[in-house]
């Protein structure tokens, strides 16, 4: 009886380990696979979201609804997020045929990152802030188009 219980426990542990190992293997394989169109679409949608948020923050700051500290910190954090997308794109090789798309997305990410960096130091310069708001609006629209094209 005791042997049967022990046997059952070993079996349960083995099944649990197999499931955990399998999930770990799946996760690692997903992380290490080459960059595909789907990954590019995810990167572009993240960038689109950061550009849109930057645009909204600029709009609120221009209406004097934000403090300088919040404005500078939040836009710097958004710039870091956009920078992380650039870093991710640089660290993985693309699938064959996606090289051109990848370089377009990279250039795009760098532009958004630069816009957000300039925005974070523009609190006292309304003209510059307004210009950056317009630029972020333009890149936001381009990102939406790029996302659509990557869907097909």
């Amino acid at each position: 009886m005791r042997r049967a219980t022990q046997h059952g426990r070993w079996l349960q542990s083995a099944v649990a380990l197999l499931i955990i190992g399998g999930l770990g293997f799946w996760f690692t394989a997903e992380v290490n696979k080459p960059l595909g169109a789907e990954d590019l679409k995810i990167a572009v949608s993240e960038l689109r979201s950061h550009a849109a948020e930057g645009r909204l923050i600029a709009e609120q700051a221009l209406s004097a609804r934000l403090t300088a500290t919040f404005f500078q910190t939040q836009t710097s954090m958004l710039r870091d997020k956009a920078g992380a997308v650039v870093k991710d794109l640089n660290s993985t090789a693309p699938r064959a045929g996606l090289e051109e798309e990848l370089s377009r997305v990279k250039a795009f990410a760098e532009r958004i990152s630069a816009d957000l960096a300039s925005l974070s130091s523009s609190f006292d310069d309304r003209q510059e802030m307004s210009r950056l708001q317009e630029d972020l609006d333009t890149v936001f629209r381009q990102a939406l188009e790029m996302e659509e094209s990557l869907k097909h």
Partner: protein, 412 residues
Amino acid sequence: MKKALEIFLGILTAMGGFVEIGELVFSINAGAKFGYSLLWVVALGTIGIIIYGEMAGRIAAVTGQPVFYLIRERAGFVVGLGTLVAANLVNLLTCAAEIGGVAILLKLALNWPYRVFILLGLIFFLLVMWFLPFQWIERTFGLLGLLMVVFMLTAILLKPDWPQAAAGFIPNVPALESPKEYLVYAYFAVALMSSIMLPYETYFYASGGIEDHWTPSDVPLNRIIVTVGFVLGSLLAVALIIMGARLFLPNHIEPQLPGSAALGPVIVFGKWGLALALLGMFFAFGGAAIETCLSAAYNLAQFVGWPWGKFRKPGGAPRFALAWITMLILAGLLITTGVDPVSVVEYSIIFSVIILPLTYLPILLVAADRTCMGAFANRWWANTLGWFYLIILTIAGLCAIPLLIITHGGKG
């Protein structure tokens, strides 16, 4: 009069302590991605946490036994130990994310270096937990967390489409563009459910009942607090989804930072809205950091049988005190490495779903046991609902990690 005040404060505390960084992030993003269509998950999760919170509180009041004592007694040492390790890992991740969230909020208000705020936050929490009695901690953070009501006002003033929002409370699957989108919808449903039914809330609530020396005469008090407090608390989650649907969805923003949430109150109330939102989030995240930290110490002490409780001086329960201090320091070290608090909390919430059935099954078995609970044992409907939720949580637990991988953490 004293009882009425106790009920009132208990309700407000439960309400103010309902939302933490994970629920904030998932609720706003659920609205930003799928509009009102995931509101039904909030309703489903709220009924679930009421049912299990009530059972755990009733067991604490009737038997004086906390959750992890029951887990060890009913599930055995090996399964109990597995649950303890998993639960405390989730507590560690959640606590780290809350500390990181607090540091980000302070940075948004004062703009000093992030790691300085982590250190200051740790010292603040350490002092609060060392010197303040349990009820003071619970009420201070719970009541000041009520400043989050600014999100409710924001949601109302953003003029949602009420009939459409009401329709969102009926379980539904919206028409989406691709099969992958349906998986992202499922991922958000699972994550939202988990963020509402986070296991530490039950551990903490039941241990709190014992800290407050509840007796069987407190069973009605327990019932009122969980029902009214959690329903009102869930209105905050509803408000965050509505805000996501009204503000972030049309602007194509998928917020990834706690500060993004403050943009709603900013648009409606200006700088006052910003101040109230940051303060509300500070106390909500701070309260959750303390609760997860204490939960981990409660779980460990209850499992191994050490004396525990904030009602004892640290010298009266030294191993319990050492456990929560260690937890706080480990969480601080983890977040100091520079990991993103929002990513950490996303993982902690997904891993929470996996341990939820293991946490709730022993509670259900004891609450239904007439030899143990006597006249306070579950009625047939409580058992039915309990099993219904256990099945749902088991399915959610099985799907959680595959969904996390397939949808790249809900990104698509």
